[in-house]
């Protein structure tokens, strides 16, 4: 029942996320990005720089209004920079329209109802590839692949609004999957979902990465960060105030307090026992249990 942490990435990204020379091409380059609207009155993003490499799973956290959604909307061109540059899959976003960038960056909106509309799940899944100008055979093949990957066989002929909301969330991701973008942006994929659906989505994210995709998740769900994500970008007041592994971010009490976020319970427990364990905080139940179990005398709990 407990999730296991993905194996740590060989080179832990550090600081501003810049890679050393020769580390390979970046999937996403955000270069000193500033975004201002309302005629200069609102500074939604303030000199944000980050580089994401292919195959990374990156989480973006922060309160509403911190700029996390503004940041991700620059990745597929929904927003254009006021200053600075955003490059995705080698293409500078100001040079292309959203529809063109959609072939490289798949943006899954938080509410699947905003994206689903067709008479059946099958037809809806084909909408993206059809817009890309693919021939019907190719479209059908991609739809079949998506149905298999996401386990949608039982609902393929149903109208999207007739299926349960958790299923619709999956269809929403599948509808972007059929476009085969290199980069996925998921907006609150597990928010408000029950445990089973959350686990399914976590699993899907890992499989997308195994497929070679880069996945960027905007989420309030700290559990998602702990279970699945390699790297966490913490947004606050339009600024990127931390770009670290989940473990490091959760252990940074100051950053967590500033953004009013709380780590998952297990990490909180690990942090409080840190004086005794002397280790960086655990991200999963198994990890903490294995860390303290061997040397622990039986705990006679005082709870009643």
């Amino acid at each position: 029942m407990t999730a296991t942490q993905a194996p740590p990435v060989a080179t832990e990204p550090r600081g501003d996320g810049s890679d050393a020379a020769g580390d390979g091409p970046s999937s996403v380059i955000v270069d000193d990005l500033t975004h201002v609207y309302s005629r200069g009155k609102v500074r939604a993003l303030d000199h944000v720089s980050v580089r994401i490499k292919p195959g990374e799973i990156v989480g973006v956290v922060g309160q509403n209004g911190s700029g996390k959604t503004t940041l991700t909307k620059h990745l597929n061109g929904l927003l254009k920079p006021t200053e600075g540059r955003v490059t995705v899959a080698g293409i500078e976003t100001t040079r292309r329209r959203v529809q063109e960038l959609a072939a490289h960056v798949g943006y899954v909106f938080q509410n699947p109802n905003h994206q689903l509309f067709a008479s059946s799940v099958e037809v809806d899944l084909g909408f993206g590839p059809r817009n890309l100008g693919l021939d019907p055979a190719e479209v059908a093949e991609r739809v079949e692949a998506a149905i298999a990957f996401f386990g949608l066989e039982s609902v393929r002929h149903l109208h999207p609004y007739r299926i349960s909301f958790p299923m619709r969330k999956l269809v929403g991701i599948a509808a972007i999957y059929t476009m085969r973008p290199e980069i996925f942006v998921l907006d609150e994929p597990s928010t408000g979902q029950d445990h089973i659906t959350t686990r399914k989505i976590n699993e899907l994210i890992r499989r997308l990465r195994s497929d070679g995709s880069t996945v960027i998740c905007v989420s309030h769900d700290m559990q998602l960060m702990a279970d699945v994500v390699d790297r966490v970008l913490v947004m606050w007041n339009g600024q990127l105030i931390a770009d670290r592994t989940p473990r490091e971010v959760f252990a940074d009490r100051e950053v967590m307090a500033r953004t009013n976020l709380e780590p998952p319970q297990i990490t909180e427990i690990a942090l409080r026992l840190q004086a005794r364990t002397g280790r960086p905080p655990a991200l999963s139940v198994d990890e903490l249990a294995d860390a303290i179990g061997p040397t622990l005398r039986p705990v006679i709990s005082g709870v009643s």
Binding site: D194, I266, R276, P298
Partner: protein, 290 residues
């Protein structure tokens, strides 16, 4: 400690939505005492919303279907009593904050229920001020509800219900659309109302750790049936049941279970909160060589 007088009673309640197969509620029996904070948990579609809609009579008065069994809420029968009568006793808050807004100003939104109940103007003003203070929206009277943030809207929805002075507050996943700060605010308000005002709270939620901390009792639903009903500790210690239906207990509990089963390193009751786990572990770990 004597058990509180029952304020909600369900006896063998079964409900099937019109034009739907399968029972949304299947032979549900439960008793909720006045002043209890009850968490309703279960997967999507387990029947939590259905159960809650039966409490104030929306089911069966507004939602069509077959309802069987007996329901008693504060001495009234919601199946026979008009919803507007039940509204004086039961306040309901739903998961989408914006979909509960309809008025031009915050004050009018809070006043809506009072206008419908024919509450005199002076008393209305007093109740509105009181309700807004409870949810920390003082001074927001002339603001537009649809221009507020999600967290503010949800607090407004709560105020709109509180002004009617209900004895029972029923909430259906009220924090699922809110950011962490908004969630904290809503949970804090519910807890305070329960503790200070003796408000009976029935809350459907997925946030296991939070419910373990605040709820007096947890009722777990699966496919319309009650599969667990007890204190958080009792319910979350039933690991097999939870696993079978796809729920998980708080991580503090999972930790203790893992320590017990893998290392024989936990005896006695399982913790359900951070404090309980940390206190028990620290006490044992003093003197443990590292």
């Amino acid at each position: 400690m004597p058990s509180p007088a029952p304020i909600i009673e369900f006896e063998r309640v079964t409900f099937q939505y019109a034009a739907s197969e399968g029972h949304a509620l299947d032979d549900v029996s439960l008793t909720i005492g006045e002043g209890e904070y009850v968490a309703l948990m279960g997967l999507n579609g387990a029947g939590k919303t259905t159960l809650e809609l039966c409490i104030n009579g929306i089911i069966p008065n507004m939602v069509m279907g077959d309802l069987a069994g007996t329901i008693g809420v504060a001495g009234l029968d919601p199946t026979e009593t008009p919803v507007r009568e039940m509204a004086k006793t039961v306040g309901m808050v739903f998961d989408n904050p914006e979909f509960q807004m309809s008025q031009m100003t915050v004050a009018e939104e809070v006043a809506l229920g009072l206008e419908n109940l024919g509450v005199p103007f002076d008393e209305m003003r007093a109740r509105i001020a009181e309700a807004l203070a409870t949810v920390d929206l003082v001074g927001f009277d002339d603001r537009m509800p649809l221009a507020l943030s999600g967290g503010q809207q949800q607090r407004l929805a709560i105020a709109a219900v509180l002004a009617m002075r209900p004895r029972i507050l029923v909430m259906d996943e009220p924090t699922s659309n809110l950011d962490p700060i908004g969630k904290q605010e809503v949970f804090a308000i519910a807890e305070r109302l329960n503790r200070e005002n003796g408000m009976t709270v029935v809350m459907a939620e997925h946030e296991v750790e939070v419910m373990a901390r605040f709820a007096d009792r947890v009722i777990v639903l699966d496919h319309g049936r009650i599969v667990a009903n007890g204190t958080p500790r009792e319910v979350f210690s039933g690991i097999e049941t939870l696993q079978r239906i796809g729920l998980r207990p708080p991580q503090a509990t999972e930790l203790a279970v893992a320590l017990r089963s893998r290392y024989g390193a936990w005896r006695g009751e399982l913790p359900v909160t951070t404090e309980e786990a940390v206190d028990a572990l620290e006490a044992t770990m003093i003197g443990t060589a590292r």
